[in-house]
């Protein structure tokens, strides 16, 4: 390790930072989109309609049973074909763009299960109280159940997001330039694997460790008093 060359890091810092920015962007988009989609899936899975129930169950089971890297690859290859079928034209979809959709759709399966247990953690009497006041199903979900479910599950949702943040690195398989992908590309060019991979690992560790400490502190602060 005597010849650890810090200048390689300094020289390529702008490129790495650009990759990190992309990773954060994908994480945020996939988190917001995934939670919205996942909540819808959770509601479907808990609905009394067997068709919706089965659709949601199938969706969740399929995505939770396939390796993420395969899903990334499949979306990257299939998305242009689907778009051509729908629009009749060839629309090129870059790796960077397809990753947004992939992660949103994939993470929704995980967020759905979190939201499902969150919804189930709200006592049944709360729903009854909402109905008794004249709320419709949608209103009792929106004003009574989901806010409580979301708050109960916030630490778990954020922990899942930290995992998602790390998993975005898998887009290097389709050549997208996320934080890890950027380091990988520099490695290929400059042949400095030790410097590059160590730097990336340290940065990932620092960010994720800090975030999970934050989640822990949040956990005690947002608990609903019952």
């Amino acid at each position: 390790m005597g010849d650890f060359d810090f200048s390689v890091i300094a020289e390529n810092w702008a490129f790495l930072a650009e990759g990190l920015r992309y990773t954060v962007q994908v994480t945020l988009v996939a988190m917001i989109g995934g939670i919205v989609l996942g909540t819808a899936l959770a509601l479907m899975r808990l609905s009394s309609n067997p068709l919706l129930q089965r659709f949601a169950a199938a969706y969740i089971n399929i995505f939770r049973s396939v390796p993420l890297v395969q899903v990334i690859l499949a979306f990257y290859l299939i998305l242009p074909l689907v778009l051509r079928l729908v629009t009749g034209q060839m629309i090129p979809v870059g790796a960077d763009t397809s990753a947004y959709l992939t992660f949103m759709v994939f993470e929704a399966a995980y967020y759905a299960e979190i939201m499902r247990s969150g919804i189930q953690s709200v006592p049944r009497g709360q729903v009854g109280a909402g109905y008794a006041l004249g709320f419709t199903y949608a209103q009792s979900m929106r004003y009574v159940v989901l806010p409580q479910a979301f708050r109960n599950m916030l630490p778990v949702l954020l922990t899942q997001t930290i995992v998602l943040f790390q998993d975005v690195s898998l887009v290097y398989a389709i050549g997208a330039t996320d934080f890890f992908g950027a380091a990988d590309k520099i490695t290929q060019r400059d042949l400095r694997p030790v410097e590059m991979y160590t730097t990336v690992a340290v940065v990932y560790f620092l960010i994720c460790f800090a975030l999970s400490r934050l989640v822990k502190r949040l956990q005690t602060r947002i608990a609903i008093i019952r």
Partner: protein, 242 residues
């Protein structure tokens, strides 16, 4: 106001209600009592369709509860309900608990709903707690807020499902006081409760249930004077012993 005709209900093979028939006229206070598992909570929940029933009919102010075209949210918005476990919304302040349904269901303005909520809070003696959260209040206080929340909807009648059974003994009276006051103002009430003192004071009639049947349905004086059925007499002997 409330008419219950031959209502029966099954959970699978188990029959929880057997041909229950009774009525609550406007301004009446009807107390429903009976041993646990007798179906009294189930019956009162059928009135605002929180529990479905299989046979018979229930009408509230002329609206048939079980009928297909009935808008349950509209019906429930006019029928106040108070639960054993209060069921205030723990993620909202007391003020918001009182205002939310007025705003979202009745379409009242935010200020109007707030004013109405505060006035009712004052009425149940809890104005000072407006900005607190339910978890910061005692059980008795929470139940009084729950009554205020139901009243904020200007209900045509009120249903009470064992409103004092989850309370510590020293908090029961503060809730009963509010209920007595309400009864004396002429509110139509159907109350599932074991508080016989309350029944003696304000009930018009007392219904005694056992095993899903309405066994006794009498004027208060007749009920406490001379319950006709053996089962009701045993029940009263047990709970009035001390």
């Amino acid at each position: 106001m409330i008419e219950i005709n031959n209502v029966s209900k099954w959970y699978g093979d188990f029959r929880v209600l057997t041909e229950c028939t009774t009525r609550v006229a406007a301004g009446e206070v009807v107390v429903v009592c009976g041993p646990s598992g007798s179906g009294k909570s189930t019956l009162i929940k059928c009135v605002n369709a929180l529990e479905p029933f299989n046979e018979g009919s229930i009408t509230v102010d002329g609206t048939s509860v079980g009928a297909r075209g009935t808008s349950l949210p509209k019906l429930r918005a006019r029928v106040g309900m108070v639960f054993q476990h209060f069921e205030l919304f723990p993620h909202m302040s007391i003020t918001d608990n009182l205002a939310i349904a007025q705003i979202k269901v009745l379409g009242r303005g935010r200020d109007e709903a707030r004013q109405k909520g505060l006035a009712l809070l004052d009425r149940v003696g809890l104005k000072a707690h407006a900005d607190k959260f339910p978890g910061q209040l005692s059980g008795g206080q929470q139940q009084r807020v729950a009554i205020a929340r139901a009243l904020a909807m200007d209900p045509i009648c009120m249903l009470f499902d064992e409103p004092t059974s989850a309370l510590d003994p020293e908090m029961i009276n503060e809730v009963l006081d509010v209920m007595v006051e309400l009864a004396q103002e002429g509110m139509t009430m159907m109350c599932v409760t074991h508080e016989m003192g309350f029944a003696r004071k304000v009930a018009s009639r007392v219904i005694f249930m056992d095993h899903g049947h309405i066994v006794e349905d009498d004027d208060k004086d007749a009920f406490f004077g001379n319950p006709r059925s053996e089962r009701a007499r045993q029940f009263l002997d047990k709970i009035l012993q001390h």
